[in-house]
Amino acid sequence: MRAAVLMCVLSLCASLPAMAQLADPPVTVNEKFSERIDIGISTNEIAITSDFSGADITVFGAIEGADELLLATFAYDVVVALEGPRATSTVRRKERVAGIWINRHSIRFEPIPASYSMSSTRPLPNIANLMELASRDIGIDNIRLVPTGGVGDGSRLTEFREALRRIKQASGLYQRDPTGVQFISKALFRAAVRLPANIPVGQHKVRAVLYKNNQFVMEKVIPLRVVKTGLEQFIYNFAHTHSFAYGIVAVLLATLTGWLGSIIFRKD
């Protein structure tokens, strides 16, 4: 049974055509270890339809060449993260000036994932040390936030970074589930990753990282595209490529709706 699932998972991976488009190498390996991790998802494209309200995707994976004894003692840890397309962010801080709260200071950060949804077998501090996690951008608190341009006095940089993480989590774009990865049989695991309703469209990636006794073993990355479909896609394109006509259509639609409304309700 295990072999059959693994075959299925591998065939899914092989059929992903967009893999070559990724900037990151799809596989990073620590040669000290012989274990390998492989993952697969049921689709390589999430379509945002008109009733889209977020989605749960399940990532299946397997650890190849795993030591039976180590598996039994839970020495292997897996982190699965869904990262959105990267975008620069500007964080602004309000201050009270003459009794009014206005935006005073701002810091601009180099591109970070617009969304980040992570699942792991255990809470991250139990999986690896902070330096190791930070070097691979694993975990909401470990995503590198590098300011660009002038920072001012810089003494508030930490506060600005914390604010960015806090706001991203409050808006649902950054999420974590420290027990979201579960082993379903000895070396097979399943990870649930949540996509929020306000997920940005574009090229996302699913990252799976294997740790063995707190040591990095291997990372595997597969792409996932989030796209608008049908009417949503058409409206978006129309608004951007024929913006004047779009504006006219919006006004005509409004006029028509207003006119129809006054006819339908014309009783007196």
């Binding site: 009014i100 206005i102 935006n103 978006y236």
Partner: protein, 308 residues
């Protein structure tokens, strides 16, 4: 039940949007205001990016004004001639306003300027209207004259040249203050993203002494064109008009407006003015508190085109 907005790029609860549209539509039908000054803050409060809220609000106001103006037209409470004169000034003002808008954005702190304008205008207009209408309600209770048009009493407005006869309004008035009023409100329309009815209505009543019954229909009539103009400009410059969001608001708003017009017809002029005054003042105070009270989150994040 959720629906995905293609331009705002997020999912919203369809019933919340419809509820907002219906409530604002009812108030706009009753008081003859476009509702832009209500719908835009409501949308922002519901996490719609401000740029989308302003542009989509203008689009929605087109629909509620069309249906409101048609209802007034049938009842004979719309002075088209007066509306067209206002519109001449309005479109010129909107063009100037767009330049001011771009200039303010280059200087930064556009949000602050918009908030301050809202607080100043809503606060002063609402306060003055409330004062006046409470006084006339008191006089009405004492069975004295409640007419705003005191015969024989003219202000400086009535001494200006280029007079024109407005039959519907039973007025013989200079076009200068009418065009000037349209122009000033046209500027505010572009800068604040509102129709301007909440300023137009009291200005027509108190400055130009136009009868309250005609004021509402005429104000709605000119708002149609100014907001239509704003919608097209926003669509071409900022790509921020969300037609799906606007249409949901419109449908609910048009239905709400029909009932609002009927309720408005049953109320007396000074009651309507007192109601509108309270509404305008309430929104002004709410926005003023946001500026003065310590915010829950003093940080904000902008990433991508419209913010997170």
């Amino acid at each position: 039940m959720t629906i995905y907005l293609p331009i705002a790029e997020l999912s919203v609860n369809i019933f919340v949007i419809l509820g907002m549209g219906a409530a604002v539509g009812f108030l706009s039908g009753m008081f003859g205001v476009g509702g832009g000054f209500l719908i835009t803050p409501l949308l922002i409060f519901y996490n719609i990016p401000p740029a989308v809220a302003v542009a989509t609000g203008a689009n929605q106001v087109v629909a509620s004004s069309v249906s409101g103006a048609l209802a007034h037209f049938r009842r004979g409470t719309l002075d088209i001639k007066l509306g067209l004169v206002l519109l001449v000034g309005g479109l010129a003002g909107a063009t100037v306003g767009i330049q001011i808008f771009s200039m303010l954005r280059r200087l930064g702190q556009l949000d602050l300027i918009i908030s301050l304008l809202y607080v100043v205008f809503l606060g002063s207009v609402g306060g003055l209207m409330l004062w006046e209408s409470v006084n006339s309600l008191r006089r009405a209770a004492q069975n004295k004259s409640v007419s705003l048009r005191k015969p024989g009493q003219h202000n400086w407005v009535h001494r200006l040249p280029f007079k024109m006869r407005f039959k519907r309004s039973k007025l013989y008035l200079s076009v200068i203050p009418v065009i000037f009023l349209g122009f000033a409100i046209g500027i505010l329309t572009s800068v604040m993203g509102v129709g301007g009815g909440f300023i137009m209505v009291p200005a027509m009543i108190y400055l130009l002494r136009i009868p309250t019954s005609v004021v509402i229909g005429t104000s709605l009539f000119q708002i149609i064109f100014v907001t239509a103009f704003t919608t097209v400009v926003q669509a071409t410059t900022n790509f921020s008009v969300d037609i799906v969001l606007a249409w949901l608001l419109m449908i609910a708003g048009v239905i709400g407006a029909q009932y609002g017009v009927r309720v408005g017809q049953k109320m007396r002029g000074e009651q309507l003015r007192a109601g509108l005054a309270l509404l305008v003042l309430g929104v002004g105070i709410r926005l003023g508190l946001d500026l003065v009270l310590p915010p829950d989150e003093i940080y904000s994040v902008v990433s991508g085109s419209f913010g997170f």
